[in-house]
Structures are given as structure tokens and as C-alpha cells.
Symmetry: D2
Subunit: 346 residues, 4 copies
């Protein structure tokens, strides 16, 4: 039984980790920290967890973590994560960090999009935790940087076609849409119910911090540096993410050929569902699960391909993928604690 | 391994049964019928189930059910159920019927609120499937009538206080609110997204068919006939049900005393969560789970009590309770396939 | 042209006042204050107002209001209102206050439910601004206390039957449901999109501050003190309010008779729509308008009546009613600026 | 007073026309037809209209339209429109048709994307009713083809930049998102509340019938044939449409320069709001109004521009634009009946 701690348990990602871990047969949840709710049972912070966990939130300030857990999830904001992770590693524990702090290999790129980095020595060591691409490296790592939600959907959508050379890397346009839980649980006017419901908008157009992360991984997959245009949008829903990606075709591939490439790439993947011809992904069909649903359409009139990927941003886009990474890091079966998740519809 | 069939798999209740059963360690799903989708994989009708079941819908017309399953859920409309259930029982199988056809013991009452009954001989045999009240009888039954969603929430809310004699049975007023999935998956103008979103309304005020069902069970609990005023409402959400129930107090009980009565009544129940003082139920905290969350408030100014109950109408209000009943009928652990359901929030 | 100022323009009620006033032919909007957004155009705070107003928010602190407007709406929190209103009246202007500060005639009752009152001398003068009940008094007033949203719906629903003696005043139970805009625009975790969507809950059961306001007005209508049980609920929608009210019948009135009483009571009212037999109110049918839709159902089995009232909480429940009061106070046609509002559906 | 008829009043577009026309000072609504609701008051079909219109729906079959109105809106499905419009024109009336039947000038293109055309002789006469582009032609027309909702948002977004030669016409990618009211009021499983809420999906990827309409108009604006990639999506909201459009830049224009081009193009347009720097359109800020909100962002890293346009699909995308066209056709002030529409937020 692996003893697991959640550092930062009072956000939506922390709560989702707890939801998954209380049912995970290979682990025991031994620690949950929250500055705001220190001393309060986690099931009072999140009443849906009542009857499923007795854990009480602890104050991270001055907490002696040594020996409290064998494994940690850090679900704190970027910049906080880089302050916390080295100490956790020092206890001999392994860590999956859900922030952006260890995702970018290049310190300069990180500091250009975020702020100064206080633990740059870990950047080279941290493994980018997208199992479908970096499975082997993850299995041997001590620190895994859990991918952002947008990058997860984009990378899973593009990896097969980009590696197979079917698309022009200079033509990538990503139009992505996210549910509101991606904005977190901090009280802000912009994410109040009344501001979000029955409305749709773009935000941070061409300036979202997931851009360099997407570019780093796509460049590595392609073998040469490439850039993307990336536009995120806010959807009036709590969970779910759909990325619609446009690329110019190389050569004359048709619909069937490209589908074959994608299907072959993911043939053994437990969490990627390549949809049948005629079907398109919908976020409501992956809700609550670790699935990524994929489809593509060739636009022959314009010799482009449109690739669509749907995930639950809190599961495959955050907590579920983090558990998948933990399983790999700890030598547990990759699907453990995740394989029984059937999407909740309606 | 118990072989289980779902008769009527293309509605929301049928889909929810499938969601629960594919993860149930004691059963194998061997049959799913649907007139409309005969020949189509269930996972094409409900894409969220892709990767979790290979079952293909079969046409119920002329189907030889004998030997296809040891146990059946009938998730068809009332009037259809009474035509189907006798044949299923005749194969030697046990049945949990999710329609209203076998819930009322009194044929006359049934025919007054619904229409003529074609299998009245089964009315005496059928057991009303609310495990928290009728556990023993369910365990020995061949046919269980799964309670309606509204009655489930109301009966769980009122049973302790009514049995303990704390409330005046002539004063019961039930103001209940349901998500839209309760209206089913049949295409109707009234349940289109645009008609429901950002709106709230009552319907069938004082005339809903769950009224006699509530009255039958409450009368049995109380030991004398009683009547209730029942008003259902439609909430702009897919899942969830909250019943707010008003009763005049008998004697001078205070908040703590009534809470004690309820807590004691449900002390060993795995699926009823009596909330801590200061908390109130919310449907989002039971979503996707088999929990019923309960709280009460004494209104000392008016010497009334307000009891609140929240369930997921598709789980504890339908498919989850049906699985709970199946477990009892088949001698499986009551929580099997349900105990790992953690509510999905947000 | 009456010059009008909005004190507290950055909440939902303030914005709604602006929406109504920019189209009002008898007034000119000359002042909008906001501590938080001082110096910012109102149409930057609320981009939907772009192109409809050029007003810039002014800091209320130290503002010389004298001469800036002939009429003020105060849309600030209770306790702030009582500090501001006397100064506005002192400039010779008339005021409609949308807070709770001047609704209760009895200072003790106010201080029991809220906190100490710093302008008690105005309590006797302030007129409760429900035009359908107090039209004449409003027309002659200097200060009108605009009713709360819940009381508006409840009082319009009950006034005819209570005055006509058809119902037992000791039996009143009010189960009310409100959209989330009623909770205001202040950033709070509890009203974040993810906390509210697809969920339903009660709050402040038996303890909401609108209770004494409802009781004051109903008691006055009835001629004797009475008390009510009042339970508010939060609906996953931005606008809209439905109150479902239960009362025991006096005598043997039937459905038609009670409908006649209500219809007669409101025969000349421009903003009350008594629905035809067979129809029930729905909040989506009054959205954005100043209408209150009413219906009732006699429950003959229990000799009770259920009265249902739907309003838009921001219009008839706040800003619209405030404009209606302004029209009365200023001698303008009562429907001016409101009569052209057609509900927005879907 | 122009007498106006609505042919096909029982859909969302018909209802929205009624909402706008009952407040239009220059017209009188004299006829509303509906096959399904013949004989029923329009305000019973759409209860939100109660108190605002007394019109009773008439059966269009065998209806003698001659003399019933001076002007008609046809809000019927394509293929029905082409059967109805010639008869209406024959009465001497003018017509704005809201279907697709008269939008494409080229019969072959129409028949390739839709079906055979039964009134091709009108294709040359019909004017494409986008006032910001074709104002003069509309004013002199007898038959106006009201643009589709998607094309309206796309054309308003691209017209200035395309005419000014700032963008590469071979690079246009349109990622558009629509509320569910665009799918109409016909009962269908796919637009039930439970299927749409809390979900997001693309549909008809690369195959939507608005594609040729967009291409026809853009080609005309540009002066040469061009093609676009167009992907529509369904948003869990009733009203609203946002189009996010990607184009490669020509030359080296910067953000300010392109903004200037757009602002100049629309400087006198009453219904196009070019947002200030730093603002982005959101559908909730145009809800219920005839506004189109525009913004753009230059992506210098990739030398692309992203143009964003938000409209209410039922107003500027349908009924509002139709009224704007009627005003032009009938010599009324273009803003009449529309200028007072302030978006409804929240």
C-alpha cells in the first residue's frame, strides 16, 4: 500500500485527486494540505466526499512531511510548486507536480512566460508526464511534470499525424474550448455563475501560457522547432475540453488513411478512444473519465485536416493523468484506479 | 457470475444501469434490448459507454429471453412493463421493474391514476424496493418494484420522524424539484435545451402520479391512511432531485432531538448520509452516486419541521437503487457495484 | 427630463437599472457611482451597455451629490444605504432605496434580523414600494423602500386570497426558488459557476431575512399579525424566481372561484399576468420583463391551495419595480420605460 | 403603419420576430401562421408573449394571403420557403425570407448543397440581406434573403480586412460556435436539455451548408473566388454565436493598423461595436440585441490575425437583421424597433 499525500487539496484538482484515490486499491491517502481549510475535514470542504474519506486538512506551513507519505501530488499554483517540490523529493518521496513549474525544459522559456524559477536544477530531471508519449521515461522518474489540460488534448490529437509526416508543421492552428473548472476554485468575478452561464468567449488569444508547452512537445515529436497559433475559449460548463485543430495536409492522404495512422498509433492505449467513422467527440461523453476521444475530418476542398480531441479537463487533463503517472512511477498497473471510470452521462 | 439483462436499454435509466453494471464484479451484462436501436451497439447509442461494453441492442419483439439471463431489469414505460414482466418471471428469472406498474398494492388505486392493469395477480407479490424500509422482504422476493425517484427522496426523509411520531401526518406538504433526466430521453419540445435552460417551473401541481405511491408507503409506515400535498418542479439541470418537506411538529421536540431520531434510524445504512449540523443537502454533492443526503431544520417560530433530501434521480432514484435491490435479491453484498461511487463534483 | 443617479452601479441591480433607464423616455441618467470602478466607464464595467451609455463611474466617497440629480436609486448593501440615503434626501431629491434598510417599519424587528439602524427617523416615512398594494402612498412619498425579490413574488401571490379571507393565515408555507443573480456580483466561492451549475439546494432554511418583510406586509393585508414558514432555494440559472406557496383553505372555494378572486384583484394591473386555466408560471417566460405571472391550484384532496408566482428577480424583483416606483413618485406614466419589455425567450 | 405577417411563427425565429415587432412603432403585426398551432393564440404557443400580442395562429394551408399584409417574413424551413415566397410576392407584398432558399445566386451551388430549386427565377432578383455590405441594394429590393447566422458573424468579421487586402484569402479558417436555438424548436433527441447541457461538440465538420454562402459573399468582397474551412460547434447555451477566424497576414500590419481598418469600415454602423483594445467579444454581452461585437488579435509569432465576432444568433443572426432589412426595404429608419434593444446581462 503506497501512502499518498495531496499538497493543495482544496482546489478542484485536489478534490478530483481525492475522488480518484479513495477508490484506488493500491494506495492509501495519508495527507491532504490546505492553508485555507487547515483543521477542517476534507469532506466538509467538499461535502461530496463525505463517507468516503476521514482525512482532515493540514496546514502546509511548517508541516513536517518526512515520513508522512511515499508519494506526493502537488496541486498548488505555479511558483508555489517550485518552492515545495524540492523538499518533498528530499524526503525520498516521488512527486507528480500538477503545476506548470516543471513542464518546460528550457528555463529561459519558462521565465519568459511565467516568472523567475527557483528550482531550475530540477528542470532537466523532470519528465513530461504524457504517458502515451513518454511512458518509459515516466516509469523511471522521480519527478513528473503533469501536462496542462490544453496540451494534453492537443498533443494526443497531433502526435500521430505529426510523427507520420502527414501535416505541415508551419500550419498548426489550435482552437480550444474549456469548461470553467479549469479556472480554479478561487473566488473571482469572472467565473461567477452569472458571468459564465449562457455565454461563450475567447480569452488570452494568442497569449496563453500553455503555448510554449505545446510547442516544446510538438517540436520534440516532429524533430524540429515549430510554432502554433493557440486560442483558448471558455465554455459554460464545469468540466470538459474540446480542441479543434487545423493543419495543412502533406501529400494526398485521404480520410481513411489518416484515420488508420491515428488508430494504429493508439492501438494499445487504454485511455484513447479513436472514434468510428461518422462519430465526433463530445465532452459529455468523457465526463468524469480518463478517456481522450479523438476524431479527424479531411477537408479535401482545402487540403486540410481538422483533428478533434475531447477530454475531461479535471481527469485526463489533470488528476486522472496524474494518477496514471503515479501508477507508472510506482510500478502499479497503469489503469489501476482509473479503468473502472465510466463517463457520467447525462 | 449472475447473467443480467436490461429490457429497455435506450433511455437514460437503461444507460445508467449499463454504467453501473459494467463495473459490478458479481454480474455479467448479457442482454440489452431496444426497439428503436435494435442491431446497434449500445456504445453507439450511448458513446460514453464506448470501451466499456460490446453489447449490441436486440429487438424485444419476438425475442426468446429464456436462458439469456438470470436476472432482468425492466426499464420500460409503465403499461409496457406489465406486459413484459410476467414472461420474464416465467423463465425462472428474478426481476427488478423500474416502472410504476408494480409499485401500488391496490389495483384500484393504480387504475385510477394510470390505466387498466393487465397483470394484477403480481401486485400482491411484488415487493416495494426501498431497501432502507423493506430490506428483508426484498431479499426474499422474485419481483421487486423499484420506487419512483420522488417517493425515494420523500420516504427516506420522512420515515424516521413519522415512525417516531414526531410529526402530524395530516400536515405533510412536499415541494420537490427534479432534474430534467427524469422526463426521459424521448424527443419532446418541452424538454429541449432551450425550453429548460435558465428557467424554473412547477408541473402537474397536485396531480403527479407519484402521489399515491408516496401515500401508500407513508400510510404503511405510520400505520394509518394519510394524504399529502405534492408539487413537483423542473430544475435546469440533468441529474439531481431535492425534496423540501414541511410537517407540523407533535410535542415539543427541538432540532437536536429530531436529528438524533434520524441519525439513529439510519446509523447502519451505507447510502444515507445524515448531514452534520449546519450543513444542507445539495444535489451536486450526490451526483452520480447512490447516496441520499438528509438534513432537517426545526422552525420554532411556527412549530414546524422542514426536512430536506437530495438524491441523484438516476442513481438512488432509479438505476442505483435497482442494483441495490438486485444485490439483495441475489444474495450479493448490498453495496457491491455501488460502494465505490464517489459523487462527481464539480 | 428628470435627472437620475444610481448610487452603487457596479452590481447586477445597478446594471439592470442602467439597462432600463437608458431607454426610459422621461429620464436622463446623470450619475453612476462605484467605489471599485471609479473613473471607469460604466460600459467597460458592463460591456453589454457599450453604445448605450457614456457614463463614467464616480467615487461615492466625498462626492458632492447636490444638484447632480433630481432622483436617486440606491443600489448598495443594507447598512450602507442607511448611511447614504439621508444625505440624498437632504439635497431635495427623492429616493428609491433597493436595500432592506427602510422596508421594515419596526426598528426593533429590523435590528433583530439585521443590525443597528442609524437612520431610524426615516422608517416611519419610508413607503413600502409594492405598487399593486401601496400605489397611492408611493405616489406621495419622498423615500420608497423597494421590496425584496422574494417578498414581491410572495405578496403578489397571496394578497388577493388573504384579503378575500379564502385562506388560513396560520397555515402559510412558502417554498421559494431564486436564480443566482440574487446573490450579487461579489466574488464568492459559493456562487462560482462550478458550484452552482447542475445543482440545486436550499439555504438559510427558516432563517432568511426576507421573512419579517413578508410577515409585515401580509399582516397588514390581513389585518392581524401572522407568521410564515419560508424556505429559499438556489436554482442554477442567473435570473428568475418562482415561489410556490401553500395555504389551507377556508370555506369550500373551488378552483374557479379562487381564480376569479385573483383575476379580479389584478384586473387593471399592467404587470401582473394571471394565467389561463391549465397554464403554470415559468421563470423563462418573464425573463427580462417587469411581469409577475400568477396561477393557483386547488388541492381538493387536502383542502389546500397552491399559489405560484414567477418574476424576474432583477426586474419586478428589483430594478424594474424600482423604476415603476420612480414613475409613480415623479408623476410619470407607471408603465413608462417598462411597458415595452417583452420577456426574452428562449 | 405597415401591416406585417409572419409565415411560420412557431419556431424560435418566428417568436423572436414577434418579440421585436410588437414593439416596432412603424408596423402592425396582422398575421402569424403555423401549421401545428393553427387556431391557437400565439401567446399560448409562446407564453412569454402574453399581454403583448392577441394574434391567433392561422393555418397556412389554403390561406388567402392577399391583402392580409404589406410585408412578409418567411420563417419556414428551406424548401418550404421557395414554395411560399412566389405567392407572397404575387400579392404585391415585399418579403424578407429567413431560410437559405434565396441566399445563393448560383442555382447549381444551391442544388449541390441543398436540393432542387423550384423558384430559380427569383435567385437573380433576391438581394443578400447583410445591410452593412449591401445596404443600397436591399433598399431597392422586393425580396431579401436574410443571411444565415454563421455567415453574418463571419462576413462582418472579415469584410474590412479582406477588402483592405490585409489577409491571404487562401488561408481562411473559421471556427464557429453556436447556441442551441440555432437548431430550431423541433423535438429531437440531440437537442434535449440532457444531451446539450455541460457538453461541447463540433458537428458537420467541413460540411455545413453555410459554407457556400460564406464563400459566395467573401468571394464577392474579395473580387475573386475563394474557399474557406468552416467548423461549427454546439455550445450549451440557448442564444449566442462566436466565430473565431484565422487568416495569414499580408504585408506587415500590426495590431493598431488592423484595428484602424475595422474601426473605419464600421464607423457609421449602428449595430457593429468594434471593441476597445484589451476587450474581447462575449456572447452574453450581445444577448437579445442586434449588435455584432468585433475584436481582433495579431499573432506576430505566426504572422496571423485572429478575428472574433459575437452576435445573438436569433437577433443579428436572424430576426433582428430581418427587421433591419424590412426597415430598409420599407423606407423606415434602419434602427427602428431595434435601437432600443439593450443586451440582457446577466
Amino acid at each position: 500500500m503506497i501512502r499518498v499525500g495531496i499538497i493543495g487539496a482544496s482546489g478542484y484538482t485536489g478534490a478530483e485527486l481525492a475522488r480518484l484515490l479513495v477508490n484506488h486499491p493500491g494506495v492509501e491517502l495519508t495527507l491532504a494540505t490546505s492553508r485555507q481549510y487547515a483543521g477542517k475535514p476534507l469532506a466538509r470542504v467538499f461535502p461530496h466526499l463525505a463517507g468516503r474519506t476521514e482525512l482532515v486538512c493540514e496546514d502546509p506551513a511548517g508541516l513536517a512531511v518526512a515520513g508522512r507519505a511515499d508519494f506526493y501530488f502537488t496541486a498548488v499554483p505555479h511558483q508555489t510548486a517550485m518552492a515545495v517540490v524540492p523538499g518533498l523529493l528530499a524526503t525520498g518521496a516521488k512527486v507528480v507536480d500538477l503545476s506548470a513549474d516543471f513542464r518546460l525544459h528550457d528555463r529561459q522559456v519558462y521565465e519568459q512566460w511565467y516568472q523567475a524559477h527557483s528550482a531550475p536544477e530540477l528542470l532537466a530531471e523532470a519528465v513530461y508526464g504524457l504517458p502515451e508519449i513518454h511512458r518509459a521515461a515516466i516509469a523511471g522518474a522521480r519527478l513528473v511534470a503533469n501536462p496542462g489540460c490544453y496540451p494534453t488534448s492537443v498533443l494526443l490529437a497531433l502526435a500521430p499525424l505529426l510523427k507520420a509526416g502527414c501535416i505541415d508543421p508551419a500550419s498548426l492552428i489550435i482552437d480550444a474550448k474549456s469548461g470553467t473548472s479549469g479556472a480554479g476554485r478561487t473566488a473571482q468575478t469572472g467565473t461567477l455563475y452569472c458571468e459564465v452561464t449562457e455565454g461563450f468567449r475567447a480569452y488570452k488569444v494568442g497569449a496563453h501560457r500553455h503555448t510554449p508547452e505545446i510547442e516544446q512537445e510538438l517540436s520534440e515529436l516532429y524533430g524540429q522547432p515549430l510554432k502554433v497559433t493557440f486560442t483558448p475559449h471558455l465554455v459554460p460548463m464545469s468540466r470538459g475540453m474540446l480542441s479543434t485543430i487545423y493543419a495543412d495536409l502533406r501529400g494526398e492522404p485521404d480520410q481513411a488513411e489518416l484515420e488508420r495512422v491515428v488508430r494504429e498509433f493508439y492501438r494499445d492505449e487504454p485511455f484513447v478512444r479513436v472514434l468510428d467513422a461518422g462519430q465526433l467527440p463530445a465532452t459529455q461523453h468523457v465526463r468524469g473519465s480518463n478517456f481522450c476521444d479523438l476524431a479527424l475530418r479531411v477537408d479535401q476542398r482545402n487540403r486540410r485536416v481538422i483533428v478533434l480531441a475531447a477530454i475531461d479537463n479535471l481527469v485526463k487533463g489533470a488528476a486522472g493523468q496524474a494518477v496514471q503517472n503515479m501508477n507508472l512511477l510506482c510500478g502499479l498497473p497503469e489503469e489501476q484506479g482509473l479503468g473502472q471510470l465510466v463517463p457520467l452521462f447525462p
